[in-house]
Structure formats: structure tokens, C-alpha cells
Symmetry: C2
Subunit: 203 residues, 2 copies
Amino acid sequence: MTKPKLTYWFDFASTYSYLSAMRIENLAADTDIDIIWQQFLLGPIFKAQGYETSPFNLFEIKGKNMWRDLERLAQYYDLPAFTKPDPFPQNGLRAARIAAFYAGEDWVPQFIKSIFFAQFTKAALISDELIVTSLNDLGQDGDALLHQAKSDLSMKDKLRQVTEEAQEKGLFGAPSFVTEDGELFWGNDRLEQAIDWVKRNSQ
Amino acid sequence: MTKPKLTYWFDFASTYSYLSAMRIENLAADTDIDIIWQQFLLGPIFKAQGYETSPFNLFEIKGKNMWRDLERLAQYYDLPAFTKPDPFPQNGLRAARIAAFYAGEDWVPQFIKSIFFAQFTKAALISDELIVTSLNDLGQDGDALLHQAKSDLSMKDKLRQVTEEAQEKGLFGAPSFVTEDGELFWGNDRLEQAIDWVKRNSQ
């Protein structure tokens, strides 16, 4: 029996993607849904909408409210206090290449969560050091993977390719949850409904 | 004893405000919270953000997903099938003046709900006829109120004044829920949390 799938599209710069990363495994735990953790890059997708940086930065009043919203939501979900990294958004390109290239490997969701967690609960930069340490902690060869992320063209290509795929699927923000029957749920607020949709439509 | 207040800021053109209008009384029913139904105009607020029309219309892919989201949410909340009015957004200025000027009167929430309901479950235009019929159904003098909405300058002023107040409070979209201690919750997705906030902070 093939398990029904739900693809969780995320970007390391996306604050609301962080909340979903922390919640998705628990929410799917009592289901037979297979969660696909799918890295992509928001940058090219925002550019196509005319944004040169995060909409958080472009619309000041709205952005300010979103930071407050994130503080409240972290509390609501029983997560540690939310911290805003400086600068925001950060350059998470090397971590993104690793997450996209090795998508499907057992250790990848844990790697993704540790990058998110450091960024949004310790205001940590997504530095080479953070990447290497996070990988080593998971029993991977951090130095080798970082070296690959810097030099291996097929890694760069993979990330570009999945980002193009996201655009073809009509993604316009993150997180997005896409079902096998083509429903696109946008935003951390829709995570429960996306899971519910897959449950109801795969029985 | 004064009851704690939660102000529900809405605009008739706001699809997600419709969902909140249909839900807010039930959600507040078991609390002692006093819901203030506060009409304002999104137009000037969107203009200040550089939007000349609804963001639904400006960002095509995102807008398309929002219509789908509304269909799914209407189902999720057990509301009748969601219908998109044409044109969108509509001119609801006369209804808005009435709702703003008579805010606080007993019949106003029901008037607001009937305008929203006709618009988003029957794709009805916010015509003079709809306004008059809705008011008459509530035991008001529809013709007299419509006449006032067309000719009474103090009604026009009131709507302008509350819209300025909304801008001063930092509102950037609708629905917005504002607590007495100054928390601003944006969006129908935050209605439960806004009510919960008032409950926790007014005991």
C-alpha cells in the first residue's frame, strides 16, 4: 500500500515555515500520511510578484504586526520565545542546497528543524559553522556536505529545479502544502486543514 | 461591572471579514466579551500601501488561490457554498455609511450579516434594493435610512472619521480584531486567538 502524501514546501527565510516545521510531525503522527519536506527558494517567486525583499520588510506596519503575531503564536504553540534574526531575511543558500539535494534522506527533516530552531529561537545566523555543527550532531559529515554545497554544481541545479517546479505548481508563498490531488494550502494556518484534506480524500 | 471589549473591524468588500461576521457571535457566546462591530473602509488603507484595488485582483495567482481557500473554508465552517460577486470588489459605500453611523444599535450586526451573506452566498450586488430590503426585514425604515446615507453629510463624515481612526491604530487589512490593551490580531484566522486573549487578560 502506498501511503498518501502531503508535500510541505518551505524556505529557511520563512518565519511561518518555521512554525510548520515544528508542528507538522506531531500533527501527522496519528495519520498514515507521508510528509515530503520540500525545500525551495522564495526569492525568485517574490521577484515574480514584484517584491525585491521579504514583504515583511516592504510593508512596515504589516511587518511589525507579523513579528508580534509570531511572538504570540510561538507562545500559543508552546514553543520557545520567538527571536527575530538580524539581518532578516538571511542568506540560507548553502543549507537550502543541502536540504533540497538530500530531500528524502532520514536525517533531513531533523537538519531542517535545527536550522529553523537556531534561527528563530536564538536569532542565530545560518553560518557555515551552524550548518556543519547541525549536520555533525546528526551523524553526518558536516565539512564534506558544506564543501559539496559550495562546489557541486548539481546541488545548485537541484535547488533551481525544485524552485522552478514550485513556480509551475503556482506556489506564491511559504509554507505551502500541496496534496496529491492538486490542492494548494498556503500558510501555517492551513496546516491542519491540509492534513485533514488528505485524510478525508485518501480513505 | 463593565464587560471586556473586542472590536471587530470589517469592510463589506472583505471576503475574510464575511467569514468572521458569520462566526464571531457563536465564538463569543460562552464568554462575557462585548463584541464591537466596527465598519471602516479598506480603500484608503490599501492606497497607503500602494494598492489601487483589492490585492486579490493585483496578484493573480495568489488571488486565485484565495478564492479556492474561501470555498474550502465555507465548507469547513459549515456555511453555504461561497460565491464570488462580479464585479469584485463592490461598491458598498451606502451600506457602510449606515453600519458606521448606527454602530452600537441592536439591529446593526444583523444588517451587516445580511449584506455579507447576500454578497458571498448569492453573489448579490450591494444595491440600494438589497440595502432597503435588508433594513425593512429588521423592522427599520429602509427608504429613510438609504436616503440619509445618500444625503446626510454627517454620515459621510462618520465613516471617514472611523477610517482615519483605523489608520491611526495601525490597521492594514480586514478583518482586524483589536483588544482594549492594544493587541491587534489580523485576519479571520486569528479570531479564536483574539477572543482567547481577551478571556485570559480580563479575568
